[in-house]
């Protein structure tokens, strides 16, 4: 969390012209360390979700071997990685996950420091794999369920709700992970249902929920895009009212992931006081979040991936070894062109360095933070440049 504070100060100094762009980039470069690694261990998925953000369905490219994955994991750990997520496409579709998880478990036993790992699954193959996961010492498992059966099956796969729920409940019963999450994509078609869905799942013993806002791509159906007023209703009224009606004590943990894809939208939420930027915290892996605890004990977190501070924190490695920092790259069919290179060609340290070259995203972001493009007196480190108005005008004067 010290690195987050330092990065904040660097952006402020840059905005106040105390340091130049090169010093800003060098400063962030020096302090930022790789923290999270998301692994796509295969190119296969048996679902065809309406809002899948991948730019490809199934590829027949050469996938990394187990030996190659081991070397990559070693390399990431040596470079400071604290968290590994097996996140794609569907980790449980073949046996590869077992070997990789076993390796992560071994690494952790020998590492002498904390190492978090888990996986994200559509749940289709979960029930038959619970025994395989039992001895993996998973920190967490995420099972994708987007609402009650009708809503979930409509956008995911027919019959998938019942199957995923069976696996989920068995995973809970057998305690295959320290935390078993239901992960939901929030969209215009389910935001009214999600609070009731959470309530009903809680009654079945599920205590952890992760709700991610739909990530739009060119292929996302328009009717699923959630509008600002819909999100406001969900966040300020629907969710807290239903969760607040649960009996005391309530040990529900709900995390809402707010992507920074549309910062103008985020700014609106701040201006409307849906989000209070003066109440933002940082956790042990540098995630920024706010939270509120309802009277019955239910905790609702909002987690932000604020660009400047998240930069260089997480990387994705595809099944064929391409490394990228930008989620947007995976929405492209030619994702490899948007990567910083392949782990088979270069060590992680070299690929990571490429994130910080002058052509990088961060440099473009720095270019936006300038008095020339801001219609008003700019604020730092989160000046939004060209937009009318600014979400931070009311922010306090010192870090």
């Amino acid at each position: 969390m010290d690195s987050v504070k330092t990065i904040l100060n660097l952006w402020q100094d840059f905005g106040l012209s105390k340091i130049n762009r090169a010093q800003l980039l060098d400063g962030i470069h020096n302090i930022r360390r790789l923290t999270e690694v998301s692994l796509d261990i295969n190119f296969q998925c048996n679902f065809s979700c309406a809002y899948c953000s991948y730019g490809f369905k199934q590829l027949h490219r050469r996938e990394l071997t187990l030996q190659e994955w081991r070397a990559v994991i070693d390399d990431c750990v040596d470079n400071g990685a604290k968290l590994f997520a097996l996140a794609g496409k569907e980790p449980l579709i073949n046996d590869r996950f077992r070997e990789i998880l076993l390796y992560l478990k071994t690494i952790r036993q020998n590492l002498g420091r904390e190492l978090i790992f888990g996986l994200v699954t559509n749940g289709w193959y979960l029930e038959e794999n619970t025994d395989n996961l039992l001895d993996m010492e998973l920190n967490y498992i995420d099972v994708s369920l987007d609402g009650h059966k009708e809503i979930h099956d409509k956008n995911r796969k027919k019959g998938s709700f019942d199957r995923a729920l069976s696996g989920l409940l068995l995973a809970c019963e057998k305690k295959v992970a320290k935390k078993v999450f239901i992960s939901s994509v929030l969209h215009a078609g389910n935001y009214k249902d999600i609070p009731f869905f959470v309530r009903d799942m809680y009654s079945k013993g599920i205590k952890h929920f992760n709700i991610s806002l739909l990530y739009p791509t060119a292929n996302t159906p328009e009717h699923l895009l959630i509008r600002k007023n819909e999100y406001r209703d969900f966040f300020t009224t629907l969710l807290p009212s239903i969760m607040g009606s649960l009996p005391t004590p309530c040990d529900l943990e709900i995390i809402i992931d707010v992507f920074t894809f549309a910062l103008p939208f985020l700014r609106d939420l701040v201006q409307e006081q849906v989000i209070d930027i003066n109440e933002i915290y940082v956790d042990d892996i540098d995630s920024l979040f706010s939270f509120r605890e309802l009277a019955n004990g239910c905790t609702i977190y909002t987690r932000f991936a604020l660009d400047h501070l998240a930069y260089g924190k997480a990387i994705k490695i595809t099944a064929d070894g391409y490394c990228m920092v930008d989620y947007e790259a995976l929405t492209m069919a030619d994702y490899w062109r948007h990567s910083v290179g392949n782990v088979l060609d270069r060590p992680i340290s070299v690929l990571y360095e490429r994130l910080f070259d002058d052509r990088s995203y961060l440099a473009r972001l720095a270019n936006q933070v300038s008095k020339e493009v801001c219609p008003k007196e700019p604020c730092y480190p989160l000046c939004l440049g060209k937009n009318d108005g600014c979400m931070f005008l009311k922010a306090s004067t010192k870090v």
């Binding site: 904040l8 402020q12 905005g15 998301s38 997520a85 794609g88 978090i116 888990g118 994200v120 920190n139 995420d142 935390k179 999450f181 992960s183 992760n210 806002l213 739009p216 328009e222 895009l225 959630i226 600002k228 819909e230 995390i255 992507f259 920074t260 894809f261 549309a262 910062l263 103008p264 939208f265 930027i277 109440e279 933002i280 915290y281 042990d284 892996i285 979040f289 939270f291 977190y301 987690r303 660009d307 998240a310 930069y311 920092v325 930008d326 989620y327 947007e328 936006q368 007196e377 604020c379 730092y380 480190p381 440049g385 937009n387 979400m391 931070f392 922010a395 306090s396 004067t397 010192k398």
Partner: protein, 44 residues
């Protein structure tokens, strides 16, 4: 499509802010002790 009104799909802006965290809960919020508050913005 008037994307400006939508949650994340604000394609009308030219700002290349398109980075997001990768999928998954990351195991939740990791806080061993009392969370530390940070101020994410300042005004000159």
């Amino acid at each position: 499509m008037n994307t400006k009104q939508y949650m994340i799909g604000d394609m009308n802006t030219k700002i290349e802010i398109r980075m997001a965290s990768f999928a998954g809960s990351k195991g939740g919020i990791h806080v061993k002790s009392k969370p530390v508050k940070v101020k994410v913005a300042v005004r000159r």
